[in-house]
Symmetry: D5
Subunit: 91 residues, 10 copies
């Protein structure tokens, strides 16, 4: 089942530059794993914002939540999830 997931990340000012870099690298590494596992299928940037739209595939919303919560920046992400149904033209 596919989901459209939108999130925007705001690290607090108290996170210093070294930690920011470490978090971003870890985020990218974890995202790569989720791509290899087939959970994360596409990712787009919302122009002008620290926000992304992603196309995810997971057996259900619980598995999707676990995948999202495994991202290192998850504690600072504001996430909204939209469940998608298959369109008859693609069935």
């Amino acid at each position: 089942m596919e989901f459209l997931v939108r999130f925007e990340t705001h690290l607090p000012d108290s996170v210093d530059d070294a930690e920011r870099k470490r978090l971003r690298d870890a985020e990218r590494a974890r995202a790569m794993e989720l791509r290899q596992d087939g959970l994360l299928k596409r990712l787009w940037r919302v122009p002008g914002r620290r926000a992304v739209v992603g196309l995810w595939e997971a057996p259900d919303a619980t598995a999707l939540h676990d995948a999202l919560a495994s991202l290192p920046q998850f504690p600072w992400m504001d996430v909204t999830v939209e469940a998608l149904a298959t369109h008859p033209q693609e069935a």
Copy 2:
């Protein structure tokens, strides 16, 4: 996977009383079938409105859509769907 589904039904004025009754009876009959099939688990009325909140269970959003679209009043229903994840306290 469970879904919280909210819908409000507004039959157009052109539907006469006999057709209204027929539609409501058919709606109830179809809802009973969906309960027996385990898709529709609970239904509440939003007080003061022609709206209901329901707890549904379906393998995915496509199966949920098909169940909703099988309701006789579906063409006149405004529906919103929220995907639910299992809470760790209930896992």
Copy 3:
């Protein structure tokens, strides 16, 4: 009478990890008591968020408020309550 209750919890950054763990354990323990007392009937996680949707049963809104306010994380919870009426199909 049943209520649909939605809440999202944001502990401030000043709460350290030990206190966070203590609060979560206390929250879970209190939730278990509220389940045993029949006030808390179901709990779902909103995927991607630190938010839950719950089905509660209480004699009235005052008793519901007292139950919610007894949760250890209540001071940091943003709560919305929706009163539910019995659906004729379930009466």
Copy 4:
């Protein structure tokens, strides 16, 4: 238990003046009965609008819904209900 109920009534253009008068008289008569039964406690007009705010008392949301649905203009009313808890200063 008390509820704050807000509704706005829009009779369709197809309702002629005689029927409008009949509906308003019936509405007033039914409201009087609901006051005598203790369900309807106060009613205010929202200035400039065909809308009212009311203070209602009912055992639960189901009884409140039945009272609202007994109003002759209910099919043309857009209603929102807010459950109220007792304030400690009034307990």
Copy 5:
């Protein structure tokens, strides 16, 4: 003239427990005076929130503002005011 007033109070974290208690006691005392003066007629708690809905009576919006601003927690209250007209059924 009556007003429906809704407010939610959020004391900042920098206010310590003793000051919180002092503020709440002062708030209650001032509210009692406003009741005795006939300005504050009813108060309800919004279930699950640190918010109240109140029914106030004042000669005009200026007198209402002065009454609200006399509450000790006013600097931390987010307030919205709705002017109410008399309903013909109560005139």
Copy 6:
């Protein structure tokens, strides 16, 4: 007491041109009376819209409602009212 009143008028398509003209003339005549009575103090047009913002003065919201309801186009007006308090700089 002063009120800021915003309204937008949409006559239905079924009102023919002669009736439209009659309604607009009657509206203007009634507005002039309300100005002479001191209820209507200023009127502005919202650019690009069939909407106006007005400054009204009335003893209370009930008197304001009666003034607004006396306008011939009132049945087709969508009205919102905001109660204004005197600013200390103008007291």
Copy 7:
């Protein structure tokens, strides 16, 4: 350049069943052409609604508009378009 396009189609009641079928067939045929031309890349159904989310690719917003306007149901579609930027992980 990719765009996320959301639309919901509401044919008016005056469109009879034969015309509805003709429109849907034509819509599907045109969508197939747009897929073959590489403009329409994916399509999902929003569960419970007569709405779809689509991933489109076009040189710019003008070409996207022309593609959308070429759909036979375009006059009855409510469309929102979101421009997407390439995410660095996919560059």
Copy 8:
């Protein structure tokens, strides 16, 4: 003074094709005049919608309203106007 003006036009179904064409031609002709008079400076189409965003210049909001109201489709346009100030980088 410049204004950003957004409008969306919805001709009612009762307007037949000949009248639609006549209105569109008249609209375009009037827009050309407004361009020549320097009131209408730029016009963009919102992709996927029957909506446009325009950059207008007028001495004040009254002159802008008169220009907008002179468009033949004005009775069916939903218009919002935003006043713009000169940016210091362009002064």
Copy 9:
């Protein structure tokens, strides 16, 4: 040209009482100058809030912005501006 300007001022907690008083006095003094210059015509308080609604007159939005930005509390004001056109009844 007239503008309806709404603003709400929230000084940060770090501003001490002496500075608050100094800012309020300076604000009032500057407002008086703007009244004398004919830019600020009326000011109302929104009951229950640290917000005001004002009627301003300025040659254009740039001059209005400069007037607003000259207020000592401007850095902490959240401002919205609505351009007003002359109503034909007042022309």
Copy 10:
């Protein structure tokens, strides 16, 4: 392709006056470069706010994002982007 870009900049209180001035100068210098490169075409100030509306031209949303992200104040800007299509009157 043109874009309408709206942003509002809020530097945190921790940024001192010297740094503020340095950031504003660097912002202006970078904006000038973007104008010379043809990316930034017009800029307006939203009256009363620390916000600007800009007309930008870029090959696609990715290039637009890179241009916006090159602004020195980008980390503190809240940005929304609207893709614009060419209007037939200007084609």
